[in-house]
């Protein structure tokens, strides 16, 4: 077993609802064209997608789990960034 490893690609698909591309999983393929083909076969067998992106896995830079608190906790106390922080009298109606 000394077969060369097949490159890994991350697959993102966009569904009909118009939401952004979302990570669906990964595939192994020799090049981008074959990765697209494999992604179509593996992740869109039931009309899940109107568009696919494939990205070489190595091209993704991810945040370190150890930095989670430093990166994401500060927003926890910033409740004034949410609409519910502000009071609007009922008589004014929906805003």
């Amino acid at each position: 077993m000394s077969e060369a490893p097949m490159p890994l690609w991350e697959v993102f698909i966009r569904n009909r609802s118009g939401l952004p591309h979302k990570h669906a999983g990964s595939v192994h393929a020799a090049d981008a064209a074959m990765a697209l083909q494999a992604a179509r076969d593996v992740y869109t067998r039931r009309g899940e997608a109107v568009s696919i992106w494939v990205v070489p896995s190595g091209a993704i830079t991810a945040s370190d789990p150890a930095d989670k608190a430093e990166l994401f906790e500060p927003t926890g106390s910033k409740i004034y960034r949410h609409p519910t922080f502000y009071e609007v009298p009922d008589e004014v109606g929906h805003m």
Binding site: P5, A29, D31
Partner: protein, 334 residues
């Protein structure tokens, strides 16, 4: 189906030898129902258990294509053929989602495939039984996929994020598998006497092997405490088996079929169906490689892998050539 992977003795680095502070943080996260992600710290035993279970699960999906593929070209109608083809394609897809999930734990796809082909990695015992008649395709969908779903629904809440996400996708797709199987059984049971006999024969052969899919009885199981604590597994083998039996027996009676178990009877007090003793010697034999089709399944898988070598090599060579040409053209243009 796939919990069978947990029923071997773990001999690696024990969880008790891990850094207690890290272990406590890890457990707190699991207790809070947070997911463990690939780059998070995890005890070696957690990683090993998951690698074993997820890769076995993936191998099962891939080998599982064979018994059903056996009937693709002989399906009795176009409707049945497209459904079976879609199901077999799904099994391939499920295998690939699961391989991808296992790879996030640090094992390469090539290593996993090599372990399967070398006989070092197991797959579910159920796929070592032959599909002798068209009714077997009905029984496999109804019983084997039914048992698999029973096992897999709790796995959607598994503490390991990539595995849980793969399972959510798989469970969504698999309910069609069970329904198409039951529909085949129903059609046969409403058909001629010969067709109904064929359905009965399939149920008689597949019933006990389907119950074995849940793995050894809890009394024998070697792995439950840690895997429960780590929320890899949420229900015991016996609980899941009982749940499957309770759900399936009325479905079989609706078909007008008889289960091959004289001890099967409903316990009025608890509402559960009580069943006879499972032949664990058969289970052990099949798992150890001596079932009706073990050699054939491995030979077919090995041949398919071998036959694809030149395609994989050619695809890589083509990609390399195109990349080199693109690089040369860029230099020429500068």
């Amino acid at each position: 189906m796939y919990t069978q992977g947990l029923n071997v003795k773990d001999t690696g680095h024990p969880a008790a030898a891990e850094d207690p502070a890290k272990l406590a943080r890890f457990q707190a996260k699991i207790d809070a129902e947070d997911k463990i992600e690939p780059n998070d710290w995890m005890p070696e035993a957690y990683r090993r258990t998951l690698v074993r279970q997820i890769s076995q699960h993936a191998h099962s999906e891939i080998i599982g294509m064979q018994p059903e593929g056996n009937w693709l070209a002989r399906a009795p109608s176009l409707r049945r053929k497209v459904a079976l083809l879609a199901k077999v394609q799904d099994e391939a897809g499920h295998g690939l989602y699961l391989y991808a999930a296992a790879e996030t734990l640090g094992l390469s796809r090539e290593e996993m495939v090599a372990q399967l082909l070398a006989g070092k990695a197991k797959y579910s015992s159920i796929f070592n039984y032959p599909t002798l008649s068209w009714a077997d395709i009905g029984a496999v969908g109804w019983l084997v996929d039914g048992a698999a779903i029973m096992n897999q629904i709790p796995l959607c809440r598994c503490s390991y994020g990539p595995y849980a996400r793969a399972m959510i996708r798989i469970c969504k797709e698999e309910s069609f598998h069970q329904r198409q199987g039951y529909e085949i059984m129903l059609t046969l049971c409403r058909g001629s006497a010969a067709q109904k006999a064929m359905a009965q024969d399939a149920l008689s052969r597949w019933w006990w092997p389907s119950l074995m899919m849940f793995g050894p009885s809890d009394k024998e199981s070697l792995h439950s405490a840690d895997t429960m604590k780590w929320k890899i597994k949420r229900f015991s083998n016996d609980d899941l088996r009982q749940k499957f039996i309770d759900a399936t027996v009325p479905q079989g009676h609706y078909l007008g079929l008889t289960f091959p178990d004289p001890d099967l009877k409903r316990d009025e007090a608890s509402g559960h169906w009580r069943f006879g003793e499972i032949d664990w010697s058969e289970f052990k034999r099949v798992l150890a490689g001596d079932g009706p089709c073990n050699r054939q399944r491995m030979a077919v898988r090995g041949q398919a892998h071998e036959d694809g070598v030149w395609v994989r090599e050619a695809a890589l060579a083509h990609a390399r050539k195109r990349a080199e040409r693109a690089a040369a053209a860029k230099i020429a243009a500068e």
